[in-house]
């Protein structure tokens, strides 16, 4: 019984290939069916997201599955096998377990530590389970993966630092203001980045959005889009008194906010903090403004620096996460090993033989008058009983182990005879 992962992801295949191999919805049931019929696979699951397509399988015959799964993927998605065959990666046994854990914990993601993958793994598992194509091994693997991912999230800071410019800016705003609900944001100029940022800020509960633009009609247009209020550009000093966050991206060729203005402003605001985000090039706000107490000015380079720092922070946390995953892989493999049929049968036989030897020694010591021929008869008798007793359970267990419920027999047997691993 081998766990096998076959797939490709954002590091091995470009989006043109990933999108062609996307496997979901009605394409799944026939694919799952053929995996059993042609691939000899017992348990299976497909994880198909925009960054990866992966097949998880449990099989007796990994060599066969390794040839069949790519062919079925090609046929299932009507994509020539040659297009992606050399993009595929393979993981077997412990490597496959580690891969599943790393994927769910977002260590294998394009954006390290992103949280979406967790729900995608969960959804893929639910789909497979609803169709009855998983079994005890994949069920446990997936449940553990989700558990490991949650553990990584709570015990390391991998998902904490924002790694896009708008979310980094929001992180900074939260570090300054705490809660953002009820805060006011002032937009100077227009621009796509400003719009994206405002949508993010709205999501955080920012209440009022004020838009100022050199061309008032443009301000009105943008304010309508962002559900804000438009003001004339010559009124911005009035608005700067009220705003908490200012997002500046005008096309002005020179500074439009000067140090002296902000010093005066902060005095009138009675030191109420002000967060200025200047994403314009050339810059709109005099960099010296950052020297004023309770004023925080970030330009586009500063924000990019913050994002780069956050990425490093996530990488540091990822090292912690890898250690955690190492431990979880070991624990999963131990569980898996306890389900193997052959070692269980070996253990059962050894267990019975130990009993036989002990009882034989006792019996023979009480029968000192036996000839060696008679002793052999007694030995053969004991031997024969053990073999007869073991015969049916052995064949039945081997037969059942191919079925999905076979593992239940293994664990029941271990329980009933008190069989435990030596290690």
């Amino acid at each position: 019984m081998v766990i096998l992962t076959v797939g490709l992801n954002h590091t091995t295949a470009p989006v043109e290939i990933r999108e062609r191999l996307h496997l979901s919805g009605t394409a799944l049931p026939p694919f799952f069916e053929r995996l059993v019929q042609e691939g000899g696979v017992n348990e299976r699951l497909v994880l198909s997201t925009c960054n990866r397509v992966e097949v998880y399988a449990v099989t007796e015959n990994p060599e066969h599955a390794q040839v069949t799964i790519p062919r079925l993927l090609a046929e299932g998605t009507r994509t020539p096998l040659a297009l992606f065959a050399d993009r595929l990666y393979w993981h077997r046994h412990d490597a496959a377990v580690r891969h599943a854990f790393r994927v769910a914990a977002s260590l294998d993601s394009l954006v390290l530590g992103e949280s979406q993958i967790l729900s995608q793994v969960k959804a893929a598992y639910e789909v497979a389970r609803a169709q009855g194509v998983t079994g005890p091994i994949l069920n446990t693997l997936m449940t553990r993966s989700l558990g490991v991912a949650k553990k990584v999230r709570t015990e390391t800071g991998i998902g904490e630092a924002a790694v896009s410019i708008p979310s980094a800016a929001i992180g900074l705003a939260k570090t300054i203001f705490g809660e953002l609900s009820g805060r006011t944001v002032l937009i100077l100029g227009a621009g796509e980045m400003a719009e994206v940022a405002v949508r993010h800020l709205r999501g955080e509960g920012v209440q009022a959005v004020v838009v100022a633009h050199r061309h008032f009609d443009r301000a009105v247009e943008m304010a309508a889009q962002l559900e804000g209020r438009a003001v004339r550009f010559d009124q911005i000093h009035q608005e700067l008194l009220q705003a908490d966050i200012v997002l500046s991206s005008t096309a002005a060729p020179h500074h439009i906010v000067h140090r002296a203005d902000v010093e005066e402003l902060i005095r009138l605001r009675r030191n109420r903090p002000l967060f200025l985000i200047d994403i314009a090039v050339p810059r709109d706000i005099d960099p010296a403004v950052n020297e004023i107490d309770n004023v925080y000015l970030y330009d586009i380079d500063d924000l990019e620096g913050v994002v780069a720092g956050h990425r490093l922070a996530r990488e540091r946390e990822a090292e912690q996460a890898e250690l955690l995953i190492d431990r979880e892989v070991v624990s999963f493999l131990r569980w898996l090993k306890s389900l193997e049929v052959v070692p269980t049968l070996v253990m059962l036989r050894r267990h019975l033989e130990e009993i036989r030897e002990a009882e034989l020694a006792k019996a023979l010591s009480r029968l000192p008058g036996l000839t060696s021929a008679q002793q052999d008869v007694v030995r053969t008798l004991a031997h024969g009983i053990i073999n007869k007793v073991l015969h049916h359970p052995t064949t039945e267990l081997k037969r059942q182990s191919v079925n999905r419920d076979g593992l239940l027999y293994v664990s029941a047997l271990r329980r009933l005879f008190g069989l435990q691993d030596d290690d």
Partner: protein, 271 residues
């Protein structure tokens, strides 16, 4: 018995302090739990130590410098625990527990025998004076710890180089607000402490000011905090300057406490 409890508490405070300091650089649920468990355990033992002393002596354990420092440390932990539960911000411990540990260590270095009370202690005003001053100082210790956190976080934001601590420290708004609230609690207590002290001084010695260093330093302390409160309430001071002044104020508290009582060997009122 009370001394054994006190040393037990001291050891747990060491553990708590280390766990909280580590928490500044590593995210760790277990670490935070360890810090909290050690602090709560230390606080419980410390409470037992104070109670044992109260029962043995039949009076509040505030009769000498050891008892006073011990009570101050206990009150500071109490304030911290209330906040940790209220705001779920355990990282504050990294800045408050060291203060607790230092005062507890200072207390541990002092003679711990039963205090021989000076006649002054027959006056109820003295008990009130000591209690108010120590409770007020505990709240002011918090403004200092929170002020330090504010300065660190503000430094990172201003310099735009966000270190490991950036992710662990609370927001500036939270820290500034907490510092302000602690000041609003600590300053009236300190004021009440000084007033009751003056009343007792008048009653015992016929004059309010004895011109001893403790009295003078506590006046300086009071002026610093009064200035801070005034600046916050009327001039709209906040943030970095307020944090700096809060730290300065608490340095004056410590100077009054340790500098005069311990270093100069001229304990105020206690003998």
């Amino acid at each position: 018995m009370d001394v054994i409890f006190f040393y037990g508490a001291l050891i747990l405070y060491v553990v708590g302090t280390l766990a909280y300091l580590l928490l500044l650089s590593i995210k760790g649920g277990p670490l935070a739990q360890l810090g909290t468990a050690a602090t709560v355990g230390g606080f419980a033992l410390h409470t037992l130590a104070l109670l044992a002393r109260l029962i043995a002596a039949g009076r509040p354990p505030l009769g000498n410098t050891y008892e006073a420092l011990s009570f101050f440390a206990w009150a500071t932990v109490l304030v911290y625990l209330i906040l940790a539960v209220r705001f779920q911000r355990k990282v504050i411990g990294a800045f408050v527990l060291p203060i607790v540990l230092l005062t507890a260590l200072a207390a541990a270095s002092l003679p711990k025998g039963p205090a021989v009370l000076s006649p002054a202690f027959q006056n109820t005003w003295v008990w009130l004076h000591v209690t108010f001053v120590l409770l007020g100082s505990a709240a002011l210790a918090l403004t200092c710890g929170v002020g330090l956190m504010y300065l660190l976080q503000e430094r990172q934001l201003k310099s735009k180089s966000l270190g490991v601590m950036y992710y662990r420290l609370p927001s500036l708004d939270f820290l500034d607000g907490l510092g302000h609230r602690a000041l609003l609690v600590g300053f009236p207590l300190l004021t009440a402490g000084l007033i009751t002290g003056a009343i007792q001084s008048q009653a015992a010695r016929g004059q309010i000011l004895m011109w001893d260093p403790t009295q003078l330093l506590s006046l300086v302390t009071w002026v610093i905090y009064a200035g801070l409160l005034q600046a916050r309430l009327t001039a709209g001071w906040r943030g970095r300057k307020a944090a700096l002044l809060a730290i300065l104020g608490f340095s004056a508290v410590l100077a009054t406490f340790l500098g005069v009582s311990v270093l100069l060997g001229r304990p105020h009122t206690f003998n």
